[in-house]
């Protein structure tokens, strides 16, 4: 049985601001863009959350919800330094650490609980170390796989610790609303609800063969998740899975031509990063967010690795068209490539061209 801990910093960016600026303490703090020019909320303090503010919300809306909110711009350099401190703490307990972002990570402590004690004690020790060294609090979730550990860390925030044992796992998943499953976003949630799936228990009734035609590749994950199973490893040397660039415009775009132009610029940025990282890709995704915040993505996978920027740009018009942008106002556009492959491993085998 594996022992996985998920550590999630509590309102990370906002807590850092409150730590460094005492005048912000016990006040609704919103870290993000400028509400005047349509920035979005990156993180907000727990005081701000009581007003209904949450991350990814437009700052202008946050301001409407709470007029006394303090808006601050993110200081990523500081966050990154603190994040590194936190990672160092984690690595002092185990080598198997998989950071998901600056403020959360998975740890596999199966091997180390003999030296340090139970996983619960390790998690507590990590929380204590983090608080001592950074002055910030984190919540921990402990379970026998990543899926449950992540859910557990969210159950008792802030500064909480939740353990889901092997015995509790299946029952716990059964009563869990489907939207709380990691990896099930609003779209899948709606689709499942249309099928009468509201909780893990409902999902349990579906066989793998029944899920397959509806959810494709993801069905195995859903099927296992409903049973409290998840065999994904904690990957300590995580490779990047995608490279992307996106932009929120100061003013909504209406002209498809202009949108295509912006996509070309974004594609050029993505291509530049691909070259820097020496990777190639096979899937191109265009993301469109409309003025009503409805977001769609359209993707295409090509049969051979992308070797030139035109191999991205040639698909942009089609993907944009598929997003049904005609006659609508667009506030954000993004281009992402995925299905990445290291160039040097591709170079090793070089197919010669006939034409």
């Amino acid at each position: 049985m594996r022992q996985i801990i998920h550590i999630d910093m509590d309102a990370f960016y906002a807590s850092v601001e409150q730590r460094d600026f005492p005048q912000y303490r016990n006040k609704p703090v919103v870290v993000g863009g400028d509400p005047a020019i349509r920035g979005v909320v990156a993180t907000c303090s727990y005081e701000a959350r009581t007003f209904g503010i949450h991350s990814a919300m437009a700052c202008s809306q946050a301001l409407r919800l709470c007029s006394q909110a303090i808006f601050v711009r993110p200081r990523f350099e500081v966050y990154r330094q603190i994040s590194q401190q936190i990672r160092d703490i984690m690595f002092s307990y185990t080598d198997v650490v998989e950071p998901l972002s600056l403020d959360e990570a998975y740890l596999d402590v199966t091997q180390c609980n003999r030296t340090f004690g139970s996983p619960t004690l390790i998690a507590k020790a990590i929380q204590k170390d983090i608080q001592f060294k950074t002055g910030l609090t984190a919540s921990a979730g402990i379970s026998y796989n990543k899926f449950l550990a992540k859910i557990a860390s969210d159950l008792d925030k802030p500064n909480g610790l939740t353990l889901i044992t092997e015995k509790q796992g299946p029952n716990f998943v059964q009563q869990l609303p489907i939207g709380k499953f990691y990896g099930i976003g609003p779209a899948t949630q709606e689709k499942m609800q249309c099928m009468g799936i509201y909780t893990g228990d409902d999902l349990l009734a579906w066989s793998l063969d029944e899920l397959k035609p509806l959810f494709g590749k993801a069905s195995l994950y859903y099927y296992n998740a409903a049973r409290g199973l998840d065999d994904r490893e904690v990957e300590s040397h995580r490779q990047r899975k995608s490279i992307g660039s996106e932009k929120t415009f100061d003013e909504d775009l209406k002209d498809p031509k202009e949108m295509l132009e912006k996509l070309h610029q974004l594609a050029a940025e993505v291509w530049q990063e691909m070259q820097q990282k020496e990777v190639t890709a096979r899937t191109i995704t265009v993301k469109v967010k409309f003025d009503d915040f409805v977001q769609v993505t359209r993707a295409k996978t090509v049969s051979r690795n992308i070797n030139e920027v035109v191999e991205i740009t040639v698909h942009l018009q089609e993907l944009l068209h598929k997003a049904e942008i005609e006659g609508r106002r667009v506030r954000l556009l993004g281009v992402t490539v995925s299905n990445l492959d290291m160039l040097n491993s591709v170079k090793k085998e070089q197919q010669l061209f006939l034409l």
Binding site: T301, V302, D341, K348, E349, Q350, Q351, L352, L354
Partner: protein, 366 residues
């Protein structure tokens, strides 16, 4: 309109044409079939605007009229009804009622006049050929078509017709497959068309009875193949196919003759060590001996040796093993000839002594 038909008479034509119905359509009408009953008979039409399939049904005519009906639902209903069931279809403006025995389905339908039919055909050349010949021309080449290539004209099959022959050619830029049959036609000037990938795949599914004669008609923008009780129409890819003659290597050169089955087995074994990313294998062709080598990034190695008929200089060439296996699967003879100059030039693979089907594979640098 109203009609009554035996399940068996409806099921097969439905299965034949369903492939044209895309699972994700851009237009609601495209998820439907058009049922048309007039003095010429009863027909079912499915289309994705690129490929159109029309099946003629063996049934007594009911009243004349047109209707559309959700295609996949009708097929699923038909499939799940018991053998020998008699199916009644009764269609009014917005609803179609499909019933059989004690089962009854009320399905939504869309106006038949909105159903898109390819009608701007200008077919100016036609060739009569056996279904078997057409099937063979496609089967022997279609696997080499490109998939979603930026060079859109590679995402299809070239059909070339002349007074003396019919040819098909497919290439994805790394390999090329060509097949031809001698066949007298009325075509006086060489004619080339490119049938898109989906059309090729649908057509291939329809060709099941080798002895039937079929008519292949070509126009500037369309191809239409008429089979007994079935009509296939596809738009063409508007583009120029590469000059394939230029990449066909000389038939002279270092020729290695080998047993096809042995080679296939050796490659299949070696490919155990290849994967999605590493498909390269090494062929070492030496005096009457062929060594197949494979290794992967984990530094595992496979080696397989076989006797061949070869008296030339020693050659060491890398290939994508999938490309080679595709070719061997398409060739029918027991013995194959591999003609190759060096590790940087394309290899020509043919059945011994036969040039009707020719395969060109470009090496890999390993």
């Amino acid at each position: 309109m109203q009609l009554s038909i035996a399940r068996e008479n409806l099921l097969k034509p439905l299965q034949q044409i369903i492939g044209a119905v895309e699972r994700r359509q851009t237009m609601p009408a495209l998820s439907n079939l058009l049922i048309r009953s007039n003095d010429q008979g009863l027909t079912l039409t499915a289309t994705d605007l690129e490929v159109e399939l029309v099946a003629t049904l063996n049934t007594e005519l009911g009243e004349t009229g047109d209707a559309t009906i959700p295609a996949r639902k009708l097929l699923d209903i038909c499939r799940s009804l018991p053998d020998q069931a008699q199916i009644m279809i009764n269609s009014s403006n917005e609803k179609t009622v499909v019933s059989s025995g004690r089962s009854r389905f009320t399905l939504s339908s869309l106006p038949a006049e909105d159903f898109p039919i390819i009608d701007d055909l200008e077919l100016d050349v036609s060739v009569v050929i056996s279904e078997g010949d057409l099937r063979s021309l496609i089967e022997k080449t279609a696997f080499a078509m490109a998939q979603q290539d930026v060079r859109y004209y590679l995402n299809g099959l070239l059909l070339e017709v002349d007074a003396e022959y019919i040819k098909t050619v497919a290439t994805d830029g790394h390999r090329l497959a060509l097949s031809e049959i001698k066949h007298k036609t009325d075509v006086d000037e060489v004619r080339q068309i490119i049938v898109p990938r989906k059309g090729v795949q649908e057509l291939q599914r329809l060709l099941t009875n080798d002895d039937n004669q079929v008519t292949v008609a070509l126009g500037k923008n369309h191809i239409r193949v008429t089979l007994p009780n079935l009509q296939f129409t596809s738009k063409l890819i508007d583009g120029r196919f590469p000059e394939y003659q230029r990449v066909l290597p000389e038939e002279e050169g270092n020729t290695a003759k080998m047993d096809k089955l042995h080679l296939k087995q050796a490659l299949t074994r070696a490919s155990i060590l290849s994967n999605e990313k590493y498909k390269g294998i090494r062929l070492i062709i030496d005096d009457n001996k062929l060594v197949v080598q494979a290794n992967n990034p984990e530094h595992e190695e496979a080696e397989d040796e076989m006797e061949i008929d070869y008296q030339g200089e020693r050659l060491e060439v890398g290939f994508n093993v999938v490309y080679l296996l595709d070719v061997l699967n398409a060739l029918e003879s027991e013995e194959v000839e591999v003609i190759i100059k060096d590790a940087n030039s394309s290899a020509l693979i043919v059945s011994s002594g036969k040039l009707e089907s020719r395969y060109v594979v470009m090496p890999m640098r390993l």
